[in-house]
Assembly symmetry: C2
Homo-oligomer: 357 residues x 2
């Protein structure tokens, strides 16, 4: 048996199918989550839509190597973070990390069972989404508490939450460095023609209009990165990955790329500002789909900035976020308990068995 | 004749009717501006809508003292700014300020004529909107260049532009101080119940979807103020003043106030984050209309943070923005020349006779 873990850090994220066989189960989970997608007669329509979309989505995953690399990156991030935390914060060591994906394995149950086995008492739910949205971090946290209830582990751990870190200096520095590395991929003599396009996952306007804080925090992240970069290049912000018939927050990344090409822009650096690891939205949507579109509309130099993945600066940032959080003694941010003004979810903004109470 | 002015600073803003008689002319100008409002057959429908709305708008101005105080505040701001600049930057002194409102007197022509009379050679077009939008700063700049053409003054001045300052440290500090003063208006023992609601003027989604940078910059301003405030209270961001049948960026301030009341919130501090002076949107919409709404929905303690107006910290900030700008030697920000990807305005992002070329 391994050494007992004193502080367990649960890394919350969306997750992704590791193999092509896992695509349909992943979509079934996604379309069953009423905190992110509301369909009429969801118990029947959800599986129907998921199964109908599965073949096309399988094809996309086949093109990026047969599965999502998000678990691979999350594990490397967890290892790097924990190793640094053991050095930074010996009083809370040994630290362990536990991956809890929302729609793929390992899930919240897997994380909680492993924490119990490791003898964890102090637990930190650490969202891997830098900017908070009820659709992402909110849904993951709610599922974590539900899973603890299902496993009868409601009183097993003392919890605190890192629920957002949109302008954490280490994150901003690491993200700025990905922009710098992206810029270096343009020939030096053409570099001043580059426009930087920050792209974030979109949200339905219904979610925005409830009062979700996501677009405010995205705007802040973008400004922080550009400030750190010394405003060396002009930039835009757009939103990607909208699906279905409902209206989404714009401007749409796809539409922006098309329009920029039409207006004669030739050099574009796309920066995923709301994801920390490569996954389908970077490798397929940004690299393949929009790369092809860019080429078609005359953007001859199209570069996507590297994801943070296992960049040592980012591992430093992850460790620093948790270290600062542990030192603060706070159970959560001042924002976390404030439900969206238009919230319709009876279960939200909870915390199980919090520290300091 | 007064002393010749070496550096003229044009303070661009929306403006407002100074008296009730000026309400209709103001609305006629506003509804004629195709850069902000597009109506079918605008030459006929614009005046029709303006005249139909005039009586109701006159009534609103009557309730806030018979006119907009925006010229009063802008003049005090200009005087304070110029006096500070003469001390900070003797090499560009004497400085003069010239108010150029978009829809009320004094207009761009008035400013340009006064600059000519004062012998100005070096001119700075300084937007009084901290966050850039094509609908506000963009429209004002375009009108300024057109007015210079109409007056045959195209080559009379060497121009540079301060086109945005959403996170300027002096602005952030002054804005944070208005939040602190707002918080002090709640009894000390109730202060920790306060939710801060930042409210910015909304934009039609059509403008947002063209790629206008306004919401990104608003998000950055909000984050900067909350960082400066040490995240002492939770906050939300909403958008106010939407009119007409088209969809606008949400969440709507009015709807948010209603929902917060319904959810049992009793202490609310509203902070106008995109305006620097009191005018109809603060004195009438936020104070009277939403104040009454808040009372109705159970928000027993509703406070609106003071506008920056002639706060000495804000006058320091205005002077510092211009001083930094003059020292940089830049004609404009790196963002200014980049048109929105979906721009449909043939005349935009220009600068007349720029410095340094």
């Amino acid at each position: 048996m391994s050494q007992r873990v004193k502080t367990g850090i649960v890394m919350l994220n969306l997750g992704g199918p590791g193999t092509l066989d896992e695509v349909e189960p992943f979509l079934l989970e996604l379309f069953a989550d009423r905190e992110i997608i509301q369909l009429p007669a969801q118990r029947w329509l959800g599986p129907f839509v998921a199964r109908r979309r599965a073949p096309a989505v399988r094809e996309l995953y086949a093109k990026i190597g047969g599965g999502s690399p998000i678990l691979h990156w999350t594990r490397l991030q967890g290892e790097g973070m924990v190793e640094r935390l053991d050095r930074l914060s010996p009083e809370t060591a040994p630290h362990g990390f536990y991956v809890a994906f929302r729609y793929a394995s390992p899930k919240s149950e897997d994380a909680l069972r492993a924490m119990e086995a490791d003898g964890v008492e102090r637990a930190v739910a650490f969202t891997q989404y830098p900017q908070f949205s009820c659709s992402t971090t909110g849904s993951s946290l709610n599922e974590l508490w539900r899973a603890a209830g299902r496993l009868r582990l409601r009183d097993r751990f003392r919890w605190s939450i890192v629920d957002r870190w949109p302008v954490h200096p280490g994150f901003v520095e690491a993200m700025t460095d990905t922009v710098r590395r992206g810029l270096e991929r343009f020939p030096a003599e053409e570099r001043d023609q580059v426009l930087i396009l920050f792209s974030a996952h979109s949200l339905p306007l219904r979610v925005i209009n409830r009062g979700d804080s996501y677009p405010q925090e995205i705007g802040a992240s973008v400004q922080a990165v550009m400030t750190r970069l010394g405003f060396s290049h002009p930039w835009l912000l757009s939103y990607q990955s909208e699906v279905g018939p409902v209206p989404w927050q714009g401007p749409s990344t796809e539409k922006v790329i098309r329009e920029l090409g039409t207006k004669g822009r030739t050099h574009l650096l796309v920066v995923p500002i709301a994801f920390t690891s490569d996954h389908i939205e970077t490798l397929s949507e940004l690299d393949l789909e929009y790369g092809e579109l860019a080429h078609k509309v005359g953007i001859t130099s199209y570069v996507r900035a590297p994801a943070l993945n296992d960049d040592p600066r980012f591992l430093d940032a992850l460790a620093d976020v948790v270290h600062e959080h542990l030192r603060s003694g706070d159970a959560h941010s001042v924002q976390y308990p404030v439900r969206c003004p238009g919230c319709v979810n009876p279960q939200c903004r909870n915390i199980l068995n919090p520290v300091g109470i």
